[in-house]
Amino acid sequence: MTMPFRYSLPFYIAAWSALLFLMAPIFVVIPVSLTPTSFLSFPTEGFSFRHYQQLFQDPAWYRSMGQSVVIGLCSTVLATIIGTAAAIGASRLSNTLAMTTRVLALLPLIVPPVVSALALYRSWVLLGLFDSWAGTILAHAILSVPYVFITASAALSRLDPSIAMAARNLGAGWARTQLQVVLPNIRSGVFAGAVFAFITSWDELVVTLFITSRGIFTLPRRMWDGIRENISPTIAAVATILILFSLLLLLAMRFIRGRDA
């Protein structure tokens, strides 16, 4: 692209400083997790995996990781089904209902997390969902359904509506058209939405802090407690594993999108 003015040296330095600023936490967390000392420091005298070992021997971290995986997967399935169905519905509805759906779908993204937390805390206590699996999964599904709705809607807007019409005219029933014609055509959007949904649940802290107590103790909650009470390189080890995990998801998404495009 022809830009008004090309790179000058100061601009080049500014841009790369900004990129390094963005990557700084990653460049710090990973080495610190490999330090041989028991306090936070850079590994100046050799590397050690002792903090990873410690992590894998601690049942508390195991339990939290397991809970986060189960809650993440369940809320992702829930959000993906509900969000995709709503996106397909809204793309073909032509009235105020479609508009209402679109506005509602943005709500969890707009409302500050603390406000959502407050609202859900109060209702979850009333409904008996406080500190329960079902309550946490439901809350995470609410927070992540917008991502599925948005990515699926974007994929639908690129899909020619006459394809679904052709299927109907050729004799396919309504349900079959949606499942076998529309759905396969938007699958990369749905998949991207599902990945976002999982990450949202996996990283969610604020709402979870309000709606859980001793029973449900997700990974972010355990990290939060660790950072506030006893900062040790073990947290850096957890952080490194989580960074690698998100990188893997990011690459998977790029791969699937690249293959579809």
Binding site: M1, T2, M3, P4, F5, Y7, A14, A15, A18, F21, L22, M23, P25, I26, V28, L40, F42, I81, A85, A86, I88, G89, R92, L93, S94, L97, T100, L104, A105, L106, L107, P108, L109, I110, V111, P112, P113, V114, V115, L118, A119, L120, R122, S123, I142, F149, W174, Q178, I199, D203, L205, M223, I227, R228, I231, A239, L242, I243, L247, L249
Partner: protein, 273 residues
């Protein structure tokens, strides 16, 4: 054949989830703010008269303002660098933007805790140059750094979406007609990027207002923003009346910001990052 009822049925589960299970509790918060401990606007009067809450509101506004400006400026530089870079460089830059974006706010805040701490690498360099340690933690500087770090990718991607749609023939025409590079940038290119800048500013400001994790950890109790103050009211001292008033006001500020923005730009532009 009329499929409209069937498509309405597809939408129904999400309407129930967000309308009934989410929106109703949100209105519940609004209701509590005028009913507890007694019905009336007493809570609102208390909040407006409280100097402590006034300080928290001011801190929140100041930090959000500074953070938003910094994030948008850095985001603009990065977006501009991205569109003018070669394909290979772009992949590298995108990696450097997406990896932090995909790292949870908790991990990033923890990392800044180490970087900015008294024994961290920044102070190591500062001290080795013979200066005194810089206090970058448990103060507003640390909170601003941590929040800006979180928000730059959002600003950058929103501004970039706007830049990508600019017809490059316009800048070429400007150059061809005799304007210099600086003039072309100021008079042609920059005005064309303004809708993206505006969308990015709104997104970043809305996200900044709701910050919770970063101010608590990097502020260390000395920098109290609205999110932390509300959670203290509810979780520690159970003052639901005051907490829900503040939650209502916070939501109102966010909604007003978005409503004002909706008059100028397409909302979808803001929330599709």
């Amino acid at each position: 054949m009329n499929d409209q009822p069937r498509f309405a049925a597809l939408v129904a589960p999400m309407l129930i989830l967000l309308g009934l299970v989410y929106l109703v509790p949100l209105f519940g918060v609004l209701l509590i703010s005028v009913t507890e401990p007694q019905p009336g606007l007493g809570n609102y009067a208390n909040v407006l008269q409280s100097p402590a809450i006034g300080r928290v509101a001011l801190t929140t506004a100041r930090i959000c303002g500074i953070t938003t400006i910094l994030s948008v400026v850095i985001g603009y530089v990065l977006a501009y660098a991205y569109v003018s870079a070669s394909a290979g460089m772009r992949r590298m830059m995108m990696l450097f933007i997406l990896v932090p974006l995909w790292t949870s706010v908790l991990i990033r805040t923890f990392a800044w805790l180490m970087i900015l701490g008294d024994n961290g690498p920044v102070n190591g360099v500062v001290q080795s140059m013979g200066f005194d340690r810089l206090a970058m933690m448990h103060n507003e500087l640390g909170v601003v750094i941590g929040m800006t770090h979180y928000l730059v990718p959002y600003a950058m991607l929103t501004i970039l979406a706007g830049m990508a749609g600019i017809d490059e023939r316009l800048t070429m025409a400007s150059r061809g007609l005799g304007a210099g590079p600086v003039m072309t940038f100021l008079k042609v290119y920059f005005p064309l990027t303004l809708p993206g800048v505006f969308a990015g500013t709104v997104l970043v400001l809305v996200l900044a207002l709701g910050f919770y994790v970063t101010p608590i950890i990097l502020g260390g109790g000395r920098v109290v923003m609205m999110g932390e103050y509300i959670s203290t009211q509810i979780l520690l001292i159970s003052r639901w009346g005051i907490g829900s008033v503040l939650a209502t006001l916070l939501m109102l500020v966010v909604l007003l910001t978005i409503a004002a923005a909706a008059r100028a730009v397409d909302l979808r532009r803001i929330f599709t990052v």
